[in-house]
Symmetry: C2
Subunit: 500 residues, 2 copies
Amino acid sequence: MEIKSNILKYKPLGIYTQNENVVYMREDCHVCISEGFEALTRIRVSNLTTSVIASLHIITSDVLGLGEIGLSRIAAKKLKVSDGETLYVSHLEPIESLSYVRAKIYNQKLDYKAYKEIITDIIEGDYSNIHLSAFITACAGDRMDIDEISNLTKAMIASGKQLDWNKEIVVDKHCIGGLPGNRTTPIIVAITAAYGLTMPKTSSRAITSPAGTADTMEVLTNVTLSGKEIKRVVNQEGGCLVWGGSAQLSPADDILIKVEKALDIDSEGQLIASVLSKKAAAGSTHVVIDIPVGETAKVRSEEAAKKLKEHMETVGKAVGLQIKVVITDGCQPVGRGIGPNLEAIDLLDVLQNKGDAPKDLKERALLLAGNLLELSEKVETGKGMETAKELLESGKAYQKFEAICRAQGRFSKTLIAPFQFEMYAPKQGVIKKIDNRKIAKLAKLSGAPQSKLAGIWMNVHLGDKIEKGQLLFTLYAESTGELNYAMEYYNNHDDIITIN
Amino acid sequence: MEIKSNILKYKPLGIYTQNENVVYMREDCHVCISEGFEALTRIRVSNLTTSVIASLHIITSDVLGLGEIGLSRIAAKKLKVSDGETLYVSHLEPIESLSYVRAKIYNQKLDYKAYKEIITDIIEGDYSNIHLSAFITACAGDRMDIDEISNLTKAMIASGKQLDWNKEIVVDKHCIGGLPGNRTTPIIVAITAAYGLTMPKTSSRAITSPAGTADTMEVLTNVTLSGKEIKRVVNQEGGCLVWGGSAQLSPADDILIKVEKALDIDSEGQLIASVLSKKAAAGSTHVVIDIPVGETAKVRSEEAAKKLKEHMETVGKAVGLQIKVVITDGCQPVGRGIGPNLEAIDLLDVLQNKGDAPKDLKERALLLAGNLLELSEKVETGKGMETAKELLESGKAYQKFEAICRAQGRFSKTLIAPFQFEMYAPKQGVIKKIDNRKIAKLAKLSGAPQSKLAGIWMNVHLGDKIEKGQLLFTLYAESTGELNYAMEYYNNHDDIITIN
């Protein structure tokens, strides 16, 4: 129902709210009065070509003139609205898919159709953050069974673009995060592409960690590529290392991830759907998944890892993917760098076979690359790791990595953050425990991943014998505010690195 | 940690966002840059006396000047900030109680301490709508056991003011909503206060219904009274009919209810905690609870009602309340009016013993008032209803009602909405079904409860024999937009009133 009298003129206010569609109208606006709108009412705003749903913020000053309407940047962008353009405003018709969300809150099992409608409405921007948070929470804590996870995954695949590489085998890998510094992906892509396999790697940005692969790669090259550009890079080099969001693969995932980040949760069902929908939509056929297990990793017990492995494999089969899950040690951070720029330094050192390159990062990358070569059936079982090592140590992997970066638009050098602070051991002893979550928190407080140069450079590992006053790690930050804040957190928590 | 360089000058922008604390800062603001803030970052804003947590919206226009900061109206009100005042901005320290919310999402049982910390932080305004929605969802769908509901209830009681009436017996009642037009409370207060009992009634506004008791009473009198004013009214008249939120009883409840409204859910645990915390904080000792049961009522089966009854009684005992639960028929709306003003007309007709007063509303009010008189042990078991009837039919209850309204500041007349539309039966037959939820939805679309005059006047009940073209109901609205929208909803749903 479009009421032609509900016409207002667009005035740009220049307010940026991330993913939230906000519409601004005056308190004494004739539309507010005739339609009975009040603050936070969800309303539909349309121009001649399209429409958005937005939450109303009421203006009681002269920021807007009579007959004017404002929009947050994201809503203005979706409408492609220009200064002075006429906009129509109307009541929101009921969002039918919210009844499925309510059913899920009340523990009902949802089918494919329900998940499809929910995901479609989420991508349309019809859900407020309150609705998104309720959907994520209702699906968390083992509240989805395998059928539901499969149906959610299928719905997410169907909701976006799906790439087709015209190849029988397209490989991919994923790590269930939780381990700071565990940046194996770029090394694995370099190795498998150097071998001749196709590995069009799309990665997410950090959800709850100080860096995702996309954040780290962005230090070295462009990661925001169009589908066409990705195709060109992969056709040319056999692999790519891009941010998945820009390719519009499983676009609901990017919206859900922002809310999961605010809640600092990453539940099993959403995790499996998120990972596998991206893989399937990216046209992958064979995928190795790394699950690090440790007391302070994302997966805390061998038992939970085995359950996740089983669910991953079952859902994988349901959506047509060959999955191999590798359970690895997750007791401490990997390598030395934590944070986009510092992790980029580590992975370049490994690819360049430098003498001081972190051995643990190298070993993990070779293990996973070897498994991927074997899963593809191009390399004989038992020979995968050996083949991977040869490609890495011969420099072929580094050549391939540089070529991929250049094909993506640039191959930049790593940098050094302007603010640093060194933390020393308060006593002599042995490094008994390193809390992955608190180390990650510390790196995030220092500014990672938004501040690309921020993070932590670790100088110790579990089991190291250290002297009093020995360097434990260095904090890096792009602003003194963030540096101070991280230092304060460290000083208030004595269990981040435990010395016995 | 307060960084003195993070100083900005307050400029009023006049943006109203309901309960959401929003802070506005320029993209090129030195504080945003030095602190690494980005849109939707949660930050702490302080003046010399207090502070609030707010979500950042970034300004990229000249709405704010360099060195200036804006706040949404609610945040400005909490800080009591004046034009040009200096504000300090800092990073948000981690909100520790969110770890309990995450534990609840992952199905862990929370203790009193955890609920107390969550509720305290919610009242402080430390939770964003995303956090509130996750907390509500994680507690819904039978995810709280009786101990947890008791602990949440106790935490909510302790979080606000607690009234003390210096009386041995203070009575109260509550109805588990879901039945449009079921406005018995004012009649019951009038009867029990006329009898001589103390009934300081605090009611909520509508959560998911077209009118709460507070909305309806606001048509007739002031309902937003201070604790002191309530005390005066109750001392004088023995009863009151006010909005609970203004008395700061269980203040977390009002914040949670706004999010439940956006989600259109009202879960058992939150419902029990909400109802009983308000009762206990209001100083009540004996409470009758009405649970209407019907296919389209809030409680749909006798079995669910019995479970809720049991839980209510157990939690009641845990927090020191005498509870009597009465399960009633919830198959159709009660009385004729649905919406604040129209329900006020119905209850006045009952109190004034008018010939056409709705019998069903009268009978329900007498049943509950009778039970309350008996629960108080002032009236012999079996004599309650008779005593209540006498007080009503003698006009004593109406006298008391008028006296209470006048003590609260005014006794206003009901009005007639400016826009109306009559709906006629499309065929002859018998009224087979009336969908409470859809009738409520229809009344809400017409503008209730925000538009006090909006709603529905029912002309038929279940089992009525009707002719084709007979009047089914009249829609009332304060704007044509809302009237049209309600009409469209009615025309698109043929199962609101089913004629066989």
